[in-house]
Amino acid sequence: MLGGTRARTLGGAALALAVLGSALLATGCGGGAGGSGAGVVRASWGDPQSPLEPANTNEVQGGKVLDMIFRGLKRYDPKTGAAQDMLAEKIDSADQQNFTITVKDGWTFGNGEKVTAKSFVDAWNYAALVDNKQKNASFFQDVDGYDKVHPAKGAATAKTLSGLVVKDERTFTVRLRTKFSTWPDTLGYAAYSPLPRAFFDDHQGWLKRPVGNGPYMVDSYTKGSSMKLSRWDGYPGDDKARNSGVELRVYTDNNTAYTDLQAGNLDLVDDIPSAQLKNVKNDLGDRYINQPAGIIQTVVFPMYDEAWSKPGMEKVRRGLSMAINREQITEQIYQKTRTPATDWTSPVLGDQGGYKAGLCGGACTYDPGEAKRLIQEGGGLPGGKVTITSNVDTGSHRLWMDAVCNSINNALGNDGACTVNPVGTFADFRNQVADQRMTSLFRSGWQMDYPLVQNFLQPLYYTNASSNYGKFSDPQFDRLVDEANAESDTGKAVGTFQDAEKILAAQMPAVPLWYQNGSAGYSENLVDVQLNAFSVPVYDRIQVK
């Protein structure tokens, strides 16, 4: 055996390591991992980007939770996506600008507090006030007085929106800046959720364990790893949860979530990794869901650049659109989890809601000969070539960018006509786009906030609209959108929006590529799994065997 003092030091070090190890082991065992209770849905989750506040959550992962713990004035039907009254008893308006909202009786928050008109008005005022730095504040920009509580520069000159007035316990009125006939239908968005007093009185405490008025209550929330929700038995709505709870587990990699589903460790994944799309039907059979979601991918032209916006260039823009073989790309790269786009909206809107297949016409149909002719007629590509820019850190963007460029190059018979410009991170890409540094085509994805044709057109193509990155501007388009917003008859309004969309087909400021589907898979433990129009699982309907 080893002897001497030095050897003892070695032994001591090993002992210290062992003690350290067991100490680490002991601290790690607090969570009580593994066995979930019966009737609980174990679902995959991503780490939400921000603290979970209704007006501060603008991405899907946080949105999932809000959808479980909150109910607003309206709710979008999980199947059709149509806006239906939830907490709203009625929303009246005589002029499409002043609305009177009556809140249903008998609703409470999970902590017993009544949901009143004030619960909404307080929440909305909080969301709009610039001091609270809520990322969804702009959803309240249509309400009168927004420029006072949320000035573009400087401090707020008012704490509350002048357009919101509480009339009595169950009634409040809203005055908008301009006419907006479909405004009530936007109220299903999570940013319009009511908030209990606890939110304002103990904000930090509320963020640790949010309290809402939906069918689920948050039991525990460990940031970055998991959230446990259980059914709220006192929930007054008719969409009570049909399972006893949901356990959301954060996965850093959707491949691991899929592996866990196969191993029986997980019941539901709502993002099938692209590498598995080929096997998923064999693996899961009819427990694989692939259905349209309210997402469209486009490539946008920088219309602020003279080279792209001068007269005649509309032919080049249309020509480029015709040079893209959408059918082939969606089939080969995406295994039909994308559908070639033929308008600028999404199939989830339905025909009545404003989706119109084929509205784009020939301009969105692959025709290499015509594409080449149009581009030559329009004066050719600016500088003889184009690039496509996108971030490549997520969404396998690199793959389709290469494919689209190949398609364009083949159509034009020129290997150097189109090249890709990959940007490392989403943040960097967003910055370049926001700073108008793009000089050629760039990707733009749009996930709807609410299932309205307005949401697919106005924020993106109206002059100086919030997400109009290409700075497209067309007076006639603007006029038609204004007209549609002022129209009280929904059918007529949709028709007018589609007239506006036809201008996009002629001008082609953005090339529609494909509609994105939601894809999900689930274990044999579950029945009644479906995705809503936002490609989020409808958790409350899921039953556990």
């Binding site: 080893l2 030095r6 030091t9 070695l10 390591l17 190890g21 680490l24 082991l25 790690g28 065992c29 969570g31 991992a33 593994g34 780490d47 939400p48 980007q49 921000s50 603290p51 603008n58 610039v130 001091d131 730095k133 809520q134 990322k135 504040a137 702009s138 949320h150 000035p151 573009a152 520069k153 963020l207 940031k223 970055g224 790893s225 998991s226 954060v250 996965y251 850093t252 990699d253 491949n255 691991t256 979530a257 592996t259 866990d260 196969q262 191993a263 460790n265 850190d393 991170t425 989403f426 943040a427 960097d428 967003r430 910055n431 926001a434 996930q447 924020p459 919030s466 997400s467 990155y469």
Partner: protein, 307 residues
């Protein structure tokens, strides 16, 4: 010895300042993180400006750095975008990764040195050739391949272990990920041990030991192995730091919420407090591991002295 340790600790200060500044500069150079917080929507200028002011992003770089260092000295590592204190993130992540590294290093030491000893003592024979071949195979397979394959075999096909690690990450669940993480280093440890043994087996002192008639196991453990372990210990020491930082791939595959996961999220969201904070701690771990290696030299070989 004591003065040597103090001198080494003092040397860490400039290294620490220099490395944090470099990391800070690199994360800063990635650009403004605020725009990405708004997703596909254009950021609302007033809200974005407030968030920037809150995160101290509206100041010039040197001011941001001084502000950050000032905060660190008071034990405040800033706040991640999701409202969590970075220090809390560290308290959650570092023990997990430390456990994972511990498994990997123990695996490396035990299996690596044993294999190296076996093949080193039987040079040129079947055992030696097999070990050399095996380590060659292991070195040439990237971690993400071995990770996914072993995860599929053990986790899905045979159902022996859970394919993903629960948030608490107890040691038994970390065995497989630890082996995956330590696999490549294991091959290096094996080969280093073997070569070092081969070299020292021809040394004078060993011939003396054999000539004295010492029993074989005493010759091997006390004279041959102990002297041959110096390069191996150097490697393992530096490897501790490398493993902690390099766990990013393994942690992703097995869904371990450790340092790698937080770093990945931090880089993806360009969250400088997270990235700089975590890397700063990693730098310290690296420096301490190196110090420990240097101190271990004295234990292994008394001829190495410190002034």
């Amino acid at each position: 010895m004591g003065r040597y340790v103090i001198r080494r600790l003092l040397q860490m200060i400039p290294v620490f300042i220099g490395s944090t500044f470099l990391i800070f500069f690199m994360v800063y150079a990635l650009g403004d993180p605020v725009a990405a917080l708004f997703g596909d929507k254009a950021p609302d200028p007033a809200t974005a400006a407030r968030i920037r002011k809150d995160l101290y992003l509206d100041a010039p770089l040197w001011k941001q750095y001084l502000h950050y260092m000032g905060q660190i000295l008071t034990g405040n590592f800033g706040t991640a975008f999701n409202g969590q204190e970075v220090i809390d993130l560290m308290a959650d992540a570092f023990p997990v990764t430390l456990r994972l590294t511990l498994v990997a290093v123990l695996f490396e030491i035990v299996v690596g040195i044993t294999l190296g000893l076996l093949s080193g003592l039987r040079r040129g024979r079947a055992v030696d050739t097999t070990v050399l071949l095996l380590t060659l195979v292991v070195v040439s397979i990237p971690t993400f391949v071995s990770g996914y394959v072993l995860q599929y075999l053990f986790g899905v096909k045979w159902g022996a272990v859970s394919p993903s690690v629960s948030p608490a990450a107890p040691l038994d669940e970390l065995l497989l990920p630890g082996v995956v993480l330590g696999l490549v280093s294991l091959a290096y440890v094996t080969r280093l041990t073997r070569t070092s043994l081969a070299e020292n087996s021809r040394a004078d002192y060993l011939r003396t030991a054999v000539a004295k008639g010492l029993p074989r196991h005493r010759v091997v453990t006390r004279h041959l192995l102990r002297n041959s372990l110096i390069p191996v210990v150097t490697f393992i020491g530096t490897d501790v730091g490398a493993l902690m930082g390099g766990a990013i791939v393994t942690e992703r595959i097995f869904n371990i919420h450790g340092v790698g996961f937080q770093l990945y999220q931090g880089v993806l969201r360009q969250n400088s407090p997270t990235v700089v904070g975590f890397v700063t701690i990693l730098v310290i771990v690296f420096l301490l591991a190196n110090l420990l290696v240097d101190l271990l030299y004295a234990v292994l070989d008394p001829r190495i002295r410190y002034a």
